[in-house]
Amino acid sequence: MGMLKVTTPSDREIVMTRVFDAPRNLVFDAHTKPDLVKRWLLGPPGWSMPVCEIDLRVGGKFRYVWRRDNDGTQMGMGGVYREIEAPERIVNTEKFDEAWYPGEAVDTLLLVERAGRTTLTQTVLYESRAARDAVLKSGMEKGVAASYDRLAELLASTT
């Protein structure tokens, strides 16, 4: 349903825009109900999401953990909800357990419904341009790359 657009409108932001062929209450549910979030917010192939806890209220926390099933590598992140206007808008902080960028980021999810379709705009505001660029340059795939690096080291030491 439509192409995902990723833009960098300012020095500290990454913005994603995409249209979904569903009313926004369903898109909102898919972002806020753990049993639904676990079905799509996955990592790269081979990763599962064993932990998905959401306390959906202002000041409430969320916690996600992804696990690479063949070697047990885990990657966790969490944050605090700052604003909730169901089913339109959520603002929360986010921080990875082993963050490769300094500070916390602030996520804003905006859902706009028109004729049964929902336009999602997800903005991530980082503390600095350096933090934003670190994410763009390594991305979520960093965890995967790190475990490949360990495998390469292991192979090198055994040959």
């Binding site: 995902l4 990723v6 898919a30």
Partner: protein, 115 residues
């Protein structure tokens, strides 16, 4: 320019919708400032400002024809910058395709509930 600074300049240049539209226009062939200004309902000085930013970021260059000095796309630099964005985009697109499938299931469920 240092590679990181160059990438920063490129991201900053790509942040503006007019500049992205100029790049899209140049992707189909070189063009003079007048030709570039035409579709944007902007003055030539305003367009020239955007062109300077793009030039500084290494995303476009000037041709040698003395009068027109047509601008052309430096595709290699653009590819370098978009590589990072594209990897990020592909990762999220994978997730959002799964979300599409989930939403289809939820819609079916909701319809059944209503019937």
């Amino acid at each position: 320019m240092h590679a990181t600074h160059r990438l920063d300049a490129t991201f900053a240049a790509l942040a503006d919708p007019t500049r992205r539209a100029i790049l899209a226009r140049l992707a189909s062939g070189q063009a003079s400032v007048t030709e570039l200004a035409h579709p944007f309902a902007m003055s030539q000085p305003a367009i020239s400002k955007h062109l300077k930013v793009l030039e500084r970021a290494g995303l476009i260059s000037r041709g040698r024809e003395a009068q027109r000095r047509p601008r052309r796309l430096e595709a290699k630099r653009l590819a370098e910058a978009t590589k990072w964005l594209d990897r990020y985009r592909r990762f999220w697109e994978g997730r959002y395709r799964r979300l599409d499938a989930l939403l289809e299931q939820l819609k079916t469920k909701e319809n059944k509930w209503e019937c």
